[in-house]
């Protein structure tokens, strides 16, 4: 069953009076539990597509349906709530809140959802254990390595039990060992908990792990391969 349906999606930027078609007529569907990588050269539209999928930007044309909800029909305030409930984000440069500990970073989104303190604490510790960071819950981001910070970011993305996680170049700043660890954790979460992960990446190690690889060029899907 499709949880994401993208139809005829277009996004154009005006850069120095030149129109750039960052996303140019993309049609894609994603099913629950997918582990998909969007690849392509720089400027091919990977990040723009992810931003549109996450409701961080709005398309010029086309539709994105998430669980039958049309993102373009949501009001700004409803879109924020929708994102918080349904979409997890992992960013290239981790983007943790530097003044909060690892556990508080994971708890933060649950605080925004007005969850109880007990629930927040239990869920955040459960997620930190899942990403192999129990014992580091009281460390602030500046006391954690890049790989550890990205694992906290993954835990944070999963805190609100989203329908899918969008990860924009999650391994770009990581060494091989950290990349390996992070991919294993995400793969395990994907298999065990059926969480959908969609990456944009240049990293061949991510591509190797992905079960579906979508290649973009000039804003268009030029291939969509599913591995067995």
């Amino acid at each position: 069953m499709n949880i994401i349906e993208i139809t005829h999606l277009h996004k154009t930027y005006n850069e120095s009076e030149v129109k750039v078609h960052a996303v140019n007529g993309v049609n894609l569907n994603f099913e629950a539990g997918e582990f998909a990588a969007i690849v392509g050269p720089s400027g091919s539209g990977k990040t723009t597509l992810l931003n549109l999928l996450g409701g961080l930007d709005s398309p010029n044309d086309g539709k994105i349906l998430i669980d039958k909800t049309d993102l373009s029909e949501l009001k700004s305030s409803d879109l924020i709530k929708f994102r918080m409930k349904n979409i997890g984000f992992v960013f290239q440069s981790y983007n943790l809140i530097p003044v909060l500990t690892a556990q508080e970073n994971v708890e933060f989104i649950m605080h925004l959802q007005n969850r109880s303190k007990q629930e927040r604490e239990e869920r955040s510790m459960e997620l930190l254990r899942a990403v192999g960071l129990d014992g580091r819950e009281n460390s602030r981001p500046n006391k954690l390595s890049g790989g550890q910070q990205q694992r906290v970011a993954v835990a944070r993305a999963l805190a609100s039990k989203p329908k899918f996680v969008l990860a924009d170049e999650p391994t770009a700043n990581l060494d091989s060992k950290s990349t390996e660890q992070l991919l294993s954790i995400m793969e395990e979460l994907n298999r065990k908990e059926n969480i959908t992960f969609i990456f944009s990446t240049h990293d061949q190690r991510v591509v190797n792990k992905a079960r579906r690889v979508i290649t973009l060029e000039d804003g268009k899907v030029i291939s969509d391969e599913r591995k067995r």
Partner: protein, 405 residues
Amino acid sequence: MITAVAWRNIWRSPLRSGIIIAAISVGMSAGMFTTTFTKGWMNQRLEVGVETEASHIRIQQPAFGENYDLKEYIPNSNLLTKEIAKTKNVNGVSPRLVIQSMIASAETGTGVKIIGIDPDKEKTVTNLYTKLSEGKYFEGVKRNPILIGAKLAKKLKVKMHSKVVITVQDASGNITGGAFRICGIYDITSGIYEGLNVFVRSSDLARLAGLKKNVSHEILVHLVNPEELDRETLLLKASYKNLKVENWKESMPELGYINEIGNLYTYIFVIIILLALGFGIVNTMMMVILERVKELGMLMAIGMSKARIFNMLMLETVMLTFTGGFTGILIGLGATYATMEKGIDLSNYAQGFEELGYSPHVYPVVEVKTLIVIVILVIITGIVASIYPARKALQYNPAEALRTE
């Protein structure tokens, strides 16, 4: 949690936050201390004006105040004095004779206002008897004792027990004179008042001026509770419609303005300080926001509403302002408490103030009402200064903010 995040965000850059907090503290402590200093100064002038010079309420014949006409007296003033003294909330009543005259020493002479008083009754309406720098209050001189001001003593080149001659026009219109001996010299740090007012016993003055014993030109009334001034004035006005009843705000309006002008001056001063600090705060917060655009984008992306981001940034600004503001207020209060006992002596720098009735030795005072106003001004500054940076932060959309490096 948002509050904790806001507080911790302030300390992300301890140097920058420390500098702005220190600037706010220094500004506010200066503002606070200037306020208590000015208040003390004004209160001292007010205290001298009301408690030594004018008392609370003055009753005269309507025409007396125009030209100090000797014949415009209140007849049977003793009866009136007793009647008013019985009134609730009246602390003391004292009748006075007031005559414009000349006073002369062996060296020189000048025009003065001679005030004839009943020394005991006068103690219940003014505190002149506590202001003697030399001599005793109508003691030590049996015949025709006189109290003169330090300024006048200097002008006439006289000292204790010196003889002075007073020349007046008596009730019959004849010029007459009498010799008085100085029993005391008062010093109220008001050069003008000291130079123009001398005090004698009313019985001595009545005899010299040929006035009946039971008359007076004015009756001073001192209240138990000065807060009831306006009400008591109205009651006395209603009771003695044929007389002119004025409280000190009416008879010495400049004294009444002192407080208002003092308050206004200090509030304007504090507002200017806060305004300048406000721009500094806005500038600091704008820098903070520019540095955190990407983080704000992330917060929007993960589902933090714009209202919550706005509140968080407002909270940061308000906390920053309050930390500096209240530290400054505490430092200002500390400086006030450290100096309020012994006062601050400005006599080397502010000699001219005495001429205007302002003491060069200032005792700062803390007034709760003023303190509350300053605290409210700090709160308003914090909130107003927070609005612009917080609004600015909301102009970004998440994708645009996340692209920022």
